[in-house]
């Protein structure tokens, strides 16, 4: 079946990821998994669409919010402080949660998204930006870091038919 669709046998060492989220916390899974997969010998392609496109901007300004994150807690004085959804309505709350998260990231030796993204580029992870999203939100290729391919749904589907692992984030 897959051979009829793709015309190629699937190489087990291939992975594709669709990235739709542009928040600081959601930025980690695609970049951690793609860099690690590349280090383990896989060919990796990431397709960035909707808010995921933000992860390709020259200047990263990613934020984390409590809204829609009902399980969010932050370590505080030996315990954990709950971060209720409602908190996001307080002015400055998003700035505070973003600063808290960035401090934790630094303190715990977790890589920054800038660093992981550079490692992904260095490891020849194929990065594709969605043309329709660029049009929709009025961005241009110049807003993105160098070396980004532009494509649409068919471009991704072709990649997916040739990939052993396909993830949606």
């Amino acid at each position: 079946m897959s051979e009829e669709a793709g015309g190629n046998a699937i190489n087990p060492n291939t992975m594709s990821i669709i990235v739709t989220k542009g928040a600081l916390d959601w930025a980690y899974p695609p970049f951690i998994l793609s860099t690690t997969a590349a280090a383990m010998g896989l060919d990796v392609t990431i397709f960035f669409t909707f808010y995921g496109l933000k992860l390709l901007f020259k200047k990263l300004d990613l934020k984390v919010t409590t809204l829609g994150n009902p399980a969010m807690e932050m370590p505080m004085m030996g315990g954990h402080m709950e971060m209720p959804n409602l908190m996001s309505s307080i002015p400055g709350a998003e700035r505070m949660t973003t600063v808290m998260m960035k401090n934790l990231i630094k303190k715990k030796g977790v890589a920054s998204i800038d660093e992981l993204r550079e490692l992904a580029v260095e490891a020849d992870v194929r990065l594709i930006a969605c043309q329709m999203t660029l049009d929709l939100f009025e961005y241009s290729k110049d807003d993105l870091i160098d070396g980004i391919e532009i494509g649409g749904a068919a471009t991704y589907i072709e990649v997916a038919t040739q990939s052993h692992i396909n993830l949606f984030i």
């Binding site: 951690i32 860099t35 690690t36 280090a39 383990m40 010998g41 715990k108 030796g109 977790v110 890589a111 490692l119």
Partner: protein, 74 residues
Amino acid sequence: MADKVLDAKGLNCPLPILKAKKALKDVPAGGTLEVLSTDPGAVADFQAFARTTGNELVEHSEEGGVYTFLLRKK
């Protein structure tokens, strides 16, 4: 004595693996890389890395919160 030593102490997932992969580039085939890490998750990860890439995890140990991995390059 390993051909190369990588100090990845204080770094969290996935950096020890990514830095080890880079460091292996400077090791000849059949040569060894010693990786030092303080990440407990690295124990399972270096085993998985070795199984998937074919580089051999010759030995690993832990002392005082520091994990030592010895990889032999394929």
